[in-house]
Amino acid sequence: MINNDNDTTDLHLGMAEEVSRFTEAWRIFNKNRLALWGLVIFTVFFLVAVSGLVLTVGDNPVLDPAKVRLSEKLLPPVSPVDTEMVKPEDRPFAGIYLLGTDDLGRDVLARMMQGAWVSLTVGFVAVGIAVLIGIIMGGLAGYYGNVRINFMQLLAMAAFFTSMVFLISGQKEMAINFMTASALFVSFSIVYYFVSVKGSGDPGAMRFFFFDTVSVDSLIMRFVDIMLCFPSFFLILTVVAILPASIYNIMIVIGLTGWMGTTRFVRAEFLSLREQDFVSAARAMGIRDMSIIFRHMIPNAIAPVLVSATIGIAGAILTEAGLSFLGFGVPPPHATWGNILSDGKRFLFDAPWLTYIPGLSILVVVLAFNLFGEGLRDALNPRLRKR
């Protein structure tokens, strides 16, 4: 090429930029001391939670969170086990109660570690559900926002969701009725499509039922607004009071009430991305819509979602601890930080470690996630990068 020189210089400039792209984000993150500590605590928490899962399961676990030793109750942290009163197989790991015991003589260290795993899974699964819903809803609103929904489709959708509500509340008959209605509306729509759009026949009076109502964008975003109106903790409390208590229900409920922020982020990103030339170019190359959304747009929109997810995990851990504290969380024999705290409050003056240990753990972990998330946001924000 004639102009090869020019291209090579550009190429080197490009290379220099490429090396700095990741390192630059890391450098900004690295400069933020608090975020770095957040990352360190996050890593420690992760390791503790995983070892908590591994060490507390089985018939004869290394750390037994459920072993009751009434002679050893309310011992302060770092108390050695009384070898005369406790049988060898009942003794805690290394013969010492590192974080003391509770009112039933259970090892608080073992209970905290079991609870860490609960907090971790609740945080990640709940936020995973929220992010998944958020990406799908936000993607639909951002990419298909202009599409208008006609009356029949709106009816079909309303019937479908009503039937879901009946299904969850256990009224199978009503659920089936509404599902049939929904299927009927859908088939009506398909017939209409083939009559009026494919074959150019006149739909006649049928047209009345197919007037455009709202756009996909307003439908989804107004639904988001409605969801945001509920004080979500009380919504969760209500739902949890109806549903049987189990860790999975808690995860799902927290996830189902936490997707609105992600939806807004993803929609905003999609609105700007869909105007980008590379999306038009992809469409001009005949690439399918789904492929454009999932392969081309979502990787470009993921950075703010990642940040809000990190902060969301902190929120989910806090919500779970709050629910457990109120007794609506994970059912009792299983330890969580919230119910350790709740059990401990009765002995606030006799055994303050029962309150301080889980309380401080929650504080530190939630703070760490928030700081880490904020550091991540600063590092991934292109406006803060030096040009």
């Binding site: 090869n4 190429l11 590379f278 170019a281 001009a284 190359m285 005949g286 470009n300």
Partner: protein, 345 residues
């Protein structure tokens, strides 16, 4: 050339946009024809409807607000407007490809260029990824990317603008389309790179035998690339013909104005000619000929009746009430542009 078949025929195409302020008629009755293996240059001011015409051929008009309100786009005997969306996706990229104006933003920043080209090849030609990579390497070499084995794994930000435009051309040509729509492919590039890219497009056209619809507002580019030219003004074609005819004997006052407003090096100092007035508001086009408020020849008939494209030479049409009566000499007198520009190729 005249007896070879037309690969694309646009008949009376109308593209309207429904806005809050009213219906914007961006393309209002455009007829075009591109013959096999030739290049048609589409020239006009910003906002005259060139890009909308381009986007409506592979049906990429965002709808709503846009809609194709009428007309036919006949590609190889099929009316594209009647195809299903699925069939249309098979045509996009495979039969009809498009190059966009901005090479900087036309590639996805999170994927390597190799991935992006392979995706198109795998989609349309049902190749395995190894075969697609092989083809990608070959096409990258063809568009003049040095050491394609290394550059195939580069991300777009590692390349310069000219290189990116080559990659975009490679992507557009990866499935050897029969028609390439190039929407101002060189506008964002500097002049030396422009020449390279145009040379590249020309040589690839000779090699692959494809037709090109070249949108530009650079008449120099048209002169060097196109065999036919269509001049567009306010949603309509105002002059159409073989490039030699239009350049030697423009038949519409707007075309004359365009040619006169090209600066020429070495013609002495003088103010650059500008066509008076502005592009009309697409919501309120003037009655009659849409060009009359800016036209030096305008008379009463122009204000009341809209002229249609009619022959003024062999294959040369113009939409002006005075077609055939105005020429360079009359133009010179009327506009006081002493030195009419040398615009022959």
């Amino acid at each position: 050339m005249s007896n070879s078949e037309a690969i694309l025929k646009i008949k009376d195409l109308k593209v309207y946009f429904d806005t809050d302020a009213g219906v914007v008629k961006s393309v209002d009755g455009v007829d075009l024809e591109i013959k096999k293996g030739t290049t048609l240059g589409l020239v006009g001011e910003s906002g005259c409807g060139k890009s909308v015409t381009c986007l409506s051929i592979p049906r990429l008009i965002e709808s709503p607000p846009g809609r194709i309100a009428g007309g036919e786009i006949i590609y190889k005997g099929k009316n594209l407007l009647e195809l299903s969306e699925k069939d249309m996706q098979g045509i996009r990229g495979n039969d009809i490809s498009m190059i966009f104006q901005e090479p900087m933003t036309s590639l996805n920043p999170v994927f390597t260029i190799g991935d992006q080209i392979q995706e198109v090849i795998m989609l349309h030609q049902h190749k395995t990824s190894a075969e697609a990579r092989e083809l990608t390497l070959r096409i990258l070499k063809k568009v003049g990317i040095p050491s394609p084995e290394i550059r195939i794994d580069d991300y777009p930000h590692q390349m310069s603008g000219g290189m990116k435009q080559r990659v975009i051309i490679a992507m557009a040509l990866s499935c050897s389309p029969d028609l390439l729509i190039a929407d101002e492919p060189t506008t964002a590039l500097d002049v030396t790179i422009q020449v390279q890219i145009l040379d590249l497009m020309r040589s690839l056209q000779d090699e692959l035998g494809m037709s090109i619809l070249l949108v530009t507002h650079d008449l120099g580019v048209v002169a060097s690339m196109a065999s036919h030219v269509a001049i567009m003004y306010a949603s309509k074609i105002v002059e159409y013909g073989p490039v030699e005819q239009i350049f030697s004997n423009p038949g519409h006052p707007y075309t004359l104005g365009l040619f006169t407003s090209i600066p020429v090096v070495g013609r002495g100092k003088r103010d650059l000619y500008v066509i008076p007035g502005n592009v009309p508001d697409p919501l309120a086009f003037p009655r009659g000929c849409k060009f009359w408020p800016r036209c030096v020849f305008a008379e009463d008939i122009c204000r009341s009746q809209e002229p249609f494209l009619e022959n003024i030479g062999e294959g040369h049409t113009a939409a002006c009430h005075f077609r055939g009566k105005i020429d360079k000499h009359l133009w010179k007198e009327k506009t006081n542009t002493g030195s009419f520009l040398n615009i022959s190729r």
